[in-house]
């Protein structure tokens, strides 16, 4: 007789054992299945002539018709360029801003002042996009806006900023930095607290000045956090915020302001061209996925820091 081997508890037994936990997880699971995974399979309509009344099961399959339509669309190039450039400028100017602010805050010796600056700078993060867009529009108004009043006061001609395509990207990026720079310092400041203070002591003994300490201790200490956030942000370059563009753009600035998100909205929700809009969205979603995968790969090779 062989002594019976210790059995790994059967799957069914384990399910039974975590029955209550599974039940607790059920609402969450249903949420993800219905609102995240069902739409992922819903992208199938981009290969169909989707008809609201026929639904996904009865609509006619048309293969890559809508993808081809998009590639042949004269707006194709403009949309990709606008989305990419807006995201790119937002990354180039928006990414370093909180790092710089965190470094400046880190040098403050009086804690009360540091906390005051932090508290104030987090505030705009909690204001709605509609309010921020409203403020931008009002302040830049050519007739009554404070910016143009100031320009008149120093003898400049008023400019209708929001009707001029060449200002759109600057306005978008600047207002984004204004709104989120403070909030984004939190994660860097958290990384700074984990740096061993003895390192600074040792550096001071070696005669390193403030700037040298920043370069050789503070920045390397923040590096893993910076890299992780950079990968995430590179992956999101094309996920330009739909809301703010939608609220700030107008036909006069489509030339630089119209991005994939707004085009998908007009094509799909407004004109009811669901298949076409989904095809455009899916195309960009896949490029985003490739981007984040690529950024992660590069980072793993160079710095051994990666998301997965």
């Amino acid at each position: 007789m062989h002594p019976s081997k210790p059995l790994r508890p059967s799957f069914l037994y384990r399910v039974k054992k975590s029955k209550v936990l599974l039940l607790m997880f059920l609402p969450c699971l249903l949420y993800y299945l219905i609102f995240k995974y069902a739409p992922m399979f819903g992208v199938a309509i981009s290969f169909q002539d989707y008809n609201l009344f026929k639904g996904i099961w009865e609509s006619k399959w048309v293969g890559f018709k809508y993808y081809q339509l998009f590639f042949e669309n004269p707006d194709f190039f403009i949309l990709i360029r606008n989305t990419f450039l807006l995201g790119f400028y937002n990354l180039v100017f928006g990414f370093p801003a909180p790092i710089i602010l965190a470094l400046l805050l880190n040098e403050v010796t009086r804690n009360v002042f540091k906390r005051f600056v932090q508290t104030v700078s987090y505030l705009p993060h909690f204001i709605s996009t509609v309010v921020v867009a409203g403020m931008v529009t009002m302040f830049l108004s050519p007739s009554s806006g404070i910016v143009n009043q100031l320009m008149k006061w120093i003898g400049l001609e008023p400019i209708n900023f929001l009707m001029n395509p060449s200002y759109f990207r600057t306005i978008y990026v600047a207002s984004d930095i204004w709104q989120h720079v403070g909030w984004e310092t939190i994660i860097y400041l958290a990384a700074l607290t984990s740096i061993d203070p003895q390192l600074y002591e040792a550096a001071k003994m070696d005669g390193a000045n403030r700037w040298q300490q920043t370069l050789s201790i503070t920045l390397p200490g923040m590096a893993p956090t910076i890299i992780i956030l950079l990968i995430l942000n590179v992956g999101r370059v094309l996920e330009v915020g739909f809301e703010k563009v939608f609220l700030l753009y107008n036909p006069a600035t489509y030339e630089t302001a119209d991005v994939i998100g707004t085009y998908v909205y007009r094509t799909g929700i407004i004109s009811g061209n669901y298949s076409y809009a989904t095809a455009i969205d899916l195309f960009m979603g896949i490029i985003s996925l490739v981007l984040i995968y690529g950024a992660n790969l590069v980072s793993r090779k160079i710095s051994e820091t990666s998301l997965w």
Binding site: I34, P39, V43, L104, V131, G268, D281
Partner: protein
């Protein structure tokens, strides 16, 4: 030493500029919305209200569109926060238990949605086919779980000592009982943080309303705000009701509208500020 003190001065000045750049727009809006029309027209209001009056606020509060929208937003926020907090906390608790069957699979399922989504139209079609269009549920359910908040909470629950939960098991509680009686009372701070995050998110939500609500009686504040401030739909009956020489300054009215709809955020901000930094820190620990 001298070198450092110059640096400190410059640094302090730069940070003061950040403070001014952040606060001035709000102070300016408050000043203009509280000032007399004449002073605003002449461009004399910079920082402090001149010819103090509350006329613009009276107009805003008497606008039926705004009162309806205010009520709608309050309902969406209260119901939405309750639903989101319930689903997220019980979901996060079960995910925090490594012994749950399929834990890793579920985590992967959830994290993947951070990198890829079906996009605007398929989600819209799902919400539409559920019959949520023009209902409270369109504002509440599609955003009920934020992956970020879920992960913050899961990380927090993992930090609760297992001994505490074991004592509950000895007393004969099941997993749900332990969650309710032992874990929740220990989690007030994280619940407050995440609850406030959700509440602010729903209060500010414009996207879902734009996509899923067509009936103007159901519009939340953000949509009405956009119609008034950005699309310039000022209620004419209000303007004429004041009548006579009392010229309505569009600008003051719009600023007053912005302030009225942002006030609740500014009021809860001190509480938010007290908890949220801790919340973000918890989440930043790699789980």
């Amino acid at each position: 030493m001298r070198n450092i003190s110059i640096f400190q001065t410059v640094n302090t000045l730069i940070l003061l500029c950040v403070v001014v750049a952040t606060l001035y727009p709000f102070l300016y809006m408050i000043a203009v919305s509280l000032s007399g029309n004449l002073y605003v027209l002449r461009g004399e209001v910079w920082l402090w209200p001149k010819g103090f009056n509350l006329a613009m606020y009276e107009l805003v509060l008497n606008d039926p569109r705004i009162s309806t929208a205010y009520l709608n937003t309050i309902i969406y926020t209260v119901v939405g926060t309750a639903v989101a907090l319930t689903v997220t906390s019980i979901g996060a608790y079960s995910l925090s238990k490594r012994e749950m069957v399929g834990n890793q699979f579920f985590t992967l399922l959830i994290v993947f949605t951070m990198f890829f989504s079906g996009g605007m139209i398929p989600t819209f079609l799902v919400v539409r086919s559920l019959g949520f269009m023009d209902t409270l549920w369109a504002m509440v359910v599609p955003g009920a779980v934020s992956t970020w908040n879920l992960i913050i909470m899961r990380t927090f629950f993992r930090g609760i000592p297992a001994e505490l939960e074991e004592s509950g098991r000895i007393d004969g509680l099941n997993d749900f009982g332990i969650f309710l009686r032992i874990v929740l009372p220990l989690s007030k701070a994280v619940l407050a943080t995440i609850g406030l995050f959700y509440a602010v998110g729903i209060w500010n939500n414009f996207y879902q309303a734009l996509l899923y609500l067509r009936d103007s009686d159901r519009f939340p504040l953000q949509v009405v705000l956009r119609n008034i401030v950005l699309a310039g739909q000022i209620n004419n009956s209000n303007v004429t009701s004041i009548g006579g020489d009392n010229l309505i300054i569009e600008e003051s009215l719009k600023f007053a509208t912005i302030m009225v709809s942002t006030l609740p955020i500014l009021l809860v901000y001190p509480f938010l500020q007290k908890y949220f930094v801790k919340g973000v820190m918890i989440g930043s620990v790699k789980g």
